[in-house]
Amino acid sequence: MKTTLAASALALMAGGAMAADEVRLQLQWVTQAQFAGYYVALENGYYDAADLDVTILPGGPDIAPPQVLAGGGADAMLNWMPSALAARERGLPVVNIAQPFKSSGLMLTCWKDTGITGPQDFKGRTIGVWFFGNEYPFLSWMSQEGIPTDGGEDGVTVLKQGFNVDPLLQRQADCISTMTYNEYWQVIDAGVSPDELVTFRYEEQGVATLEDGIYVLEENLEDPAFVDKMTRFVAASMEGWKWAEANPEEAAMIVLDYDQTGAQTEQHQLRMMGEVAKLTAGSNGALDPADYQRTVDTLLAGGSDPVITAAPEGAWTSVITDAALN
């Protein structure tokens, strides 16, 4: 008996020593094709090959990834840069270590019959905006256009939009926030023809901010073991992303397999994967300093209500992508 115990204890210790490094990744939203690269890397064994034991934590409307990171609930999080930089200025030093999304999928979708043709037509209108850190791009856009956001004739009335498209469909709002890969298609699925809509992509308005980067806590980057772990994680994740781009249909099916809520539909995920692939295209995971600068400039140009008050220092690092991609 004693020997068996000792033997199993030994086996456990050996197992412990050889176990893969754990990584917990906090997503920004529920399981969907927006995060396909990570699920593909998990499913295709890229993480295993990198000796990583990755747990993907789905988010939701009431989960703030920076808070999870601060509380030690995750090793890395996905976040939009405006939200991450705001968190950084509030005393939570998060650092961007990789940027798999090259382009922004954020846009405003308006009814065409409102006669809106450009941002200046937003005056006097009601616009649905997501909060939870997602309002920053909108606020800085409006302040660049010189449009106040506290209602009235010359301003816009801002509605806190839930994560659905009802306000537009019920015409409680003239425009709402949509993502190219998600809510826009919910409007279409509700029976609205694309001809009835007019959309404004933040990308085309010059106020696009970086979305869906990988962020970690600054203090963890002082630990070489953590840096090594993240280097392998980013390399494997990017491998997953490139595979997902090349195989959108299979990637969507992998995402569906991992959706434990069963809320996602095949048609929706296939379409989402197709749109998401357009956003990740052109990024090898390394952050382009020019994109970063555009994001910071957009956020600093916040007028009376700036998102961040000073240009952040050390908010991103190329250490990990330099090592991961070479």
């Binding site: 920076p66 808070q67 705001a86 309002e135």
Partner: protein, 281 residues
Amino acid sequence: MSWLIGALIFWALAWGANIWLANGRFRASLSVRIFVPVLFGITILVLWEGVVRAFEVSPVILPAPTQVAETFAASTDLLWQDFEQTVLKGALRGYVIGALAAFLTAVAIDRSAFLTRGLLPIGNFVAALPIVGIAPILVSWFGFDWQSKAAVVVVMVFFPILVNAVQGLRETDAQARDLMRTYAAGYTQSLIKLRLPAALPFVFNGLKIAATLALIGAIVAEYFGSPTRGMGFRISTGVGSLSIDLVWAEIAVAAMAGSALYGAIALIEKRVTFWHPSQRT
């Protein structure tokens, strides 16, 4: 660590003082009765401050009370605007409408056995509706502004007041009712002179329960779409933007508003139902 030790020492001293006061000669005096719970509350704040400082808890997880107080003082304009939107517009209007509707329904139910069988189960049904389910629906019916919040409050406060009022109206004993009959009092007379006064303790009970429900309803309803002001809006978005100190300031306002509303109703009750055994001292 000195912060933690200091907080613990304060805790021990305050505890001792409270035990001494609560068992002391003046324990029945008003000042002691107020001082003891206040000291208890202060102790909790001191412990909180000590723990947060000693363990250097990140302010995005739990800010210290002094930090919350600073934020509170610095953003009174914002807090007032949110208070106005949520409490004065949403909660109170919904509360008054809901209470009046429930009270009138109770009188109607009391009048007719038919309605007792028909309306009470419906009231019961309404009370069983989950608020997170109906709030988004009411938001889409009544719009994003305070009207939909008031509607949620109406739904929430209706049932507790209704049940209490119906029960209260049945509270008179047979002798008292017989007496009214021998006076040749009609339905309205016996309702106003006898049964409504007898129902008051019950009605106030319902009103007190509903007072805190109203506030919760108005705040939760703002989670499902709101203009960019209001306590629920600020609490739900404050977490996302990591301004947890502001969230705590809003929570403090909500707690104070709820206590004040409850206290006001309790005070009115004391004046109006002075004859009831529960109010005699």
